[in-house]
């Protein structure tokens, strides 16, 4: 039955990757990337049970946190074009001038 779960996750991953390739906007790709992250967690969980090594779940947890940070980083990058941008920074700089 873990084969069913693994297979379903792999099919879903395939669809998500197709969406990531087809785009058309960058947000579709970010959404697809986020979904790939979720599916990767589930794949790790299912694979852990399939191979009898549930320790994979720890990797899944870490992957989830990284996925969240990665999504935010990409969104911020495409909104501002600079990851180190800080609004308060800007205000301070303009206050100095």
């Amino acid at each position: 039955m873990f084969y069913v779960a693994t297979g379903a996750v792999l099919i879903a991953l395939l669809f998500a990757v197709i969406r990531a390739i087809r785009g058309p906007t960058v947000f579709d790709r970010v959404l697809a990337g986020n979904t790939v992250g979720t599916l990767a967690i589930l794949l790790l969980a299912a694979l852990g049970f399939l191979t009898g090594r549930p320790e994979f779940l720890d990797i899944g947890l870490t992957y989830g946190l990284l996925n969240l940070i990665g999504t935010f980083a990409v969104l911020k990058f495409f909104r501002i074009g600079d990851l180190a941008y800080d609004v308060t920074d800007e205000q301070e700089k303009s206050a100095w001038k």
């Binding site: 039955m1 906007t25 959404l31 947890l61």
Partner: protein
């Protein structure tokens, strides 16, 4: 005892198959939907129902161990951070001016009890900078 473990086995079978079904359905929705906002709804089917059913099924297989606890941590992670990521994505797409395909736009409807936003101009909300309460 034998009966109970068989019932648990059957229950986890059902949960895992149902979860797999919703995973594939959500991913298929991501392919079929016409624009980014509607695709996000399909993705949230994966994040919520698909993931929970699958993880519940796995948790029944694991029994009462630390593995089950970790599975529920994974679930909590998805449930607390999933909506945050979706919200950020939707807001970023609106801000960038990606126009949603709409059947009906009720953004300029008067909200009951709304006094602060009466004179706001609701057209082209993609360009308006979101103001935050200070």
């Amino acid at each position: 005892m034998e009966m109970i473990s068989q019932a648990a086995h059957a229950a986890s079978w059902v949960l895992i198959v149902a979860g797999s079904f919703f995973l594939v359905a959500g991913a298929l929705g991501m392919l079929r939907m016409p624009d980014v906002y509607t695709r996000m709804h399909a993705a949230s089917v994966i994040d919520t129902l698909g993931a929970t059913l699958l993880i519940l099924g796995l948790a029944i297989q694991a029994g009462f161990t630390l593995v089950t606890l970790k599975l529920f941590f994974v679930l909590a992670l998805l449930f607390f951070f999933g909506p945050v990521a979706s919200h950020a994505l939707a807001q970023a797409a609106l801000y960038a001016g990606v126009e949603p395909i709409l059947d009906e736009d009720r953004r300029n409807r008067t909200v009951p009890g709304d006094t602060a936003n009466k004179d706001a101009t609701p057209e082209s909300p993609g360009k308006s900078t979101p103001t935050r309460p200070t």
